[in-house]
């Protein structure tokens, strides 16, 4: 068996027993790091389960034909869904990624494993406090908790505990980088994936500091010792709320590179470009959260335009660069290894039955085509007038955070189960179709949710028939059909999400152990990238690359131009739509 990686022997000999060497990747795995990764991944899955059940209940309520929950319960479950998914699931998983990108990927021990357990305990305590407050009805404020809506002080305190724990993990991550550098566990610069994780961790620090600036005053306000301006709260909250999604983006892109490497040996076309793009995320993304305040009364138009356009578009540029380099890396990786036919032979010969690979592709495509295009468009100052707080907003972010980030996390899990948990993936056939179900369902869900929003259907709303309102109000008749299709897509995605939880929990707790003997062609329960890792390439393989005018990745060039055409069409169609509404200013 070939290994992907060749590593220099570290100067400081590794203590026997504390490490094991991975026979697939050649990575040295620090056992305390492995245990922390496992714990954080399990916590993430529990949060995903709570968030997922909430998702189904919300879906069956917004589907007006079913309208399952009572109003109080609906808003409560919606609060739990937002917090469990966007905060607990994603951040617990990102903690696992930070441990992986610093320890194993650099062949290093992690710094202060005991601190890791303290952090984990703090985060778990905070999460339990928050869930407790929500489910006992003491925090019916939705995840944004815009003051002067008031939750129990323990709710804010729980968030603070969770955030402090996450902040400490970031510092632990930076300390591990120092340890690895000092102990010379790697040569030269950090690998790109670790570099991406550094970007995510730096954004996380910025984000969590904003979190402190939001929640500490809010906690003090909730116990009556301080006043907080509602508009200032909204600004600070979104510096937390949106920047935290940028942690996701940076982590997700790092995982794209990782899944590309695991599954098809995707190469890094140019380190400079990919790294610069990560730096752009760090520099420009925090200001971009101003796009949540585009139709707020507290800010001038110039403030809005500068923060969203000048700053945000530099981050958009970064995403567009990754949107090229990731598929180009896959294309070139495939071509180097002999998939040289035509423009798209590399696509045909890709391992579509490897859930790690299909997750990668679906994550890139749905994130880019649906999440990215809608996000930039609706984050435009004037276009936001016809979008703000309608269903177009959740329609957008379910395409980024769910079919993008969560899908990438799921894809990575199919590799973590054998590599970290040392188990074969259970229900292999189901695992192979899970990404298609999940991303396909979410695609339908997001698109039809966005369409309903285009008719002005509000988000976060229990009853769009307005049965108890002082006047009659009916939406366009198409809305019922759109919401019905949306619900169908959501249910398909829920099946995909349920399968993911079933597969991971079953594999980890009842799965068959993974041994070297299992790595035979056609074996079930193992992704192709583990059975037969992509062979290392040599300079001679570069003879396989095309020499045409469209560069070494002509297929990708075609794909990104299609993307740009879709982007421009959607963008200008929205300006046209805006021009139909009343004159306002």
């Amino acid at each position: 068996m070939s290994t992907v990686l060749e590593r220099p022997e570290p100067r400081v000999p590794l203590r026997a027993g504390l490490f094991r060497t991975c026979e697939v990747t050649g990575l040295k795995l620090h056992r305390p790091a492995e245990r922390l990764m496992k714990a954080n991944a399990v916590a993430a899955t529990v949060a995903l389960l709570i968030g997922g059940i909430s998702a189904i209940l919300i879906l069956l309520t917004r589907w007006q034909a079913v309208h399952l929950l009572e109003p109080v319960m609906f808003y409560r479950v919606l609060t739990a869904h937002g917090i469990s998914m966007l905060i607990f699931f994603i951040i617990f998983f990102e903690m696992a990624v930070l441990y992986f990108a610093s320890g194993p990927l650099l062949n290093s021990r992690i710094a202060a494993p005991k601190l890791g357990w303290f952090n984990f305990a703090l985060m778990t305590t905070g999460a339990v406090m928050v869930e407790w407050m929500i489910w006992t009805g003491k925090a019916d404020v939705l995840m944004t908790s815009y003051i002067p809506l008031r939750a129990d002080p323990l709710y804010y305190l729980g968030i603070i505990f969770f955030a402090v724990g996450a902040l400490l993990v970031c510092f632990q991550f930076f300390a591990t980088l120092v340890v690895a550098k000092r102990e010379r566990t790697y040569e030269g610069s950090l690998p790109l994936i670790t570099f991406g994780a550094v970007a995510a961790a730096i954004i996380a620090v910025i984000t969590l500091l904003h979190g402190a600036a939001t929640y500490i005053p809010t906690f003090l306000w909730s116990i009556g010792v301080m006043s907080v301006d509602p508009q200032v709260y909204r600004m600070l909250w979104w510096a937390l709320g949106h920047s935290s999604q940028q942690i996701n983006v940076a982590a997700m892109v790092a995982i794209w590179y990782l899944l590309g490497a695991f599954t098809v040996g995707a190469v890094v076309l140019n380190e400079k470009i990919s790294r610069t793009a990560f730096v752009l995320y760090i520099l420009f993304i925090s200001m971009a959260s101003a796009h949540h305040l585009l139709v707020d009364p507290g800010f001038s138009s110039s403030w809005k335009v500068v923060n969203t356009s000048y700053f945000m578009y530099m981050a958009v540029l970064a995403s567009m660069l990754h949107g090229f380099t990731v598929p180009a890396g896959v294309e070139i990786g495939q071509r180097l290894r002999g998939a040289t036919q035509g423009l798209f032979g590399w696509v045909r010969r890709a391992p579509w039955g490897d859930p790690g690979f299909s997750s990668l592709v679906l994550s890139v495509v749905v994130f880019g085509f649906v999440g990215g295009i809608t996000g930039v468009t609706i984050g435009t100052e004037q276009i936001n007038i016809v979008v703000h707080n309608t269903l177009r907003v959740p329609g957008h972010f379910h395409a980024t955070v769910v079919s993008g980030t969560a899908m990438a996390f799921m894809g990575l899990t199919y590799y973590l189960i054998p590599l970290i948990f040392r188990k074969k993936v259970a229900f292999w056939r189901l695992a192979q179709i899970q990404p298609y179900l999940f991303a396909g369902g979410m695609l339908i869900f997001s698109i039809f949710m966005s369409f309903s929003g285009g008719f002005g259907v509000p988000r976060r709303h229990w009853d769009i028939t307005f049965s108890n309102a002082p006047f009659e109000q009916a939406f366009h008749p198409a809305v019922d059909a759109l919401l019905g299709i949306m619900a169908l897509g959501g249910l398909i995605a829920a099946v995909g999400g349920g399968l993911y939880i079933l597969i991971t929990v079953w594999s980890v707790f009842f799965g068959k152990p993974f041994t070297e003997a299992d790595r035979v062609a056609g074996a079930k329960g193992l992704p192709q990238g583990i059975i037969r890792p992509p062979r290392a390439v040599t300079v001679a393989d570069e003879a396989n690359l095309p020499k045409g005018r469209f560069g070494t990745a002509p297929g990708t060039m075609v794909l990104v131009l299609i993307f740009l055409a879709a982007f421009a069409t959607y963008y200008f169609a929205n300006w046209k739509l805006l021009s139909f509404v009343w004159k306002i200013g």
């Binding site: 009364p297 109000q473 509404v581």
Partner: protein, 205 residues
């Protein structure tokens, strides 16, 4: 080999899991340069559109923005209702201000107050604010949406371009009664009639 590729270090290409060997700050491939240029140019288009729309477009969220005490704003709304009330609908006053004037609507748990009766083609300055928590002003089916924040007066110049009966939905969560919060804006034709209404019946009202 093109010149830019010859400059590359002659090491095999690696994945993102490995430390790059040798010097990696090297010129990009031509395809990457081309895409970078296209993407950057597109971002400049995105950037240009917003100032351009402020200059030439008819829909902008600029507004006249001031801080205001919720109680003071509510008093102003009540004065406005006292000045221009012309009728009542389901217990809510219907207010018909003269074209060109400052008009007011307040969001509070859980209603929009009062009902506005406007004239098509006339310009008004619509002041929006909240008495208590955040609300979301969403005019249906025109689909105009603004965030309403307590303590802030958002004064927007508006010109209704169609006559009819419009709903004001609250689209920011404001408590358990959020979904019952529904207001109304009526827009008359230039002659003061509502669609489906003759000028004679308007006189009678």
């Amino acid at each position: 080999m093109r010149p830019d590729e010859e400059n590359m270090e002659r090491e095999p290409m690696t994945t993102g899991m490995q430390s790059p060997k040798g010097r990696w700050w090297v010129p990009a491939h031509r395809s990457e340069k081309v895409w970078f240029a296209i993407a950057f140019a597109w971002c400049m288009v995105l950037f240009a559109m917003m100032p351009l729309w402020h200059w030439k477009g008819g829909q902008n969220p600029s507004g006249i923005r001031r801080k205001v005490e919720p109680a003071a704003f509510e008093a102003r709304v009540n004065q406005f209702v006292a000045d221009y009330q012309v009728g009542e609908l389901n217990g809510y006053p219907v207010v018909e201000p003269p074209p060109g004037s400052d008009i007011y609507m307040i969001g509070r748990m859980w209603s929009w107050f009062p009902i506005l009766k406007l004239r098509k083609g006339a310009e008004y300055t619509l002041h929006l604010s909240s008495k208590d928590v955040n609300h979301g002003f969403s005019l249906y089916p025109v689909n105009i949406n603004f965030q309403i924040v307590p303590g802030y007066d958002y004064g927007l110049k508006i010109v209704p371009t169609e006559a009819g009966d419009f709903g004001v939905i609250c689209n920011e969560f404001c408590g358990v009664g959020h979904h019952m919060m529904l207001g109304k804006v009526l827009v008359t034709n230039e002659d003061g009639t509502l669609p489906g209404e003759t000028s004679a019946s308007a006189e009678v009202q």
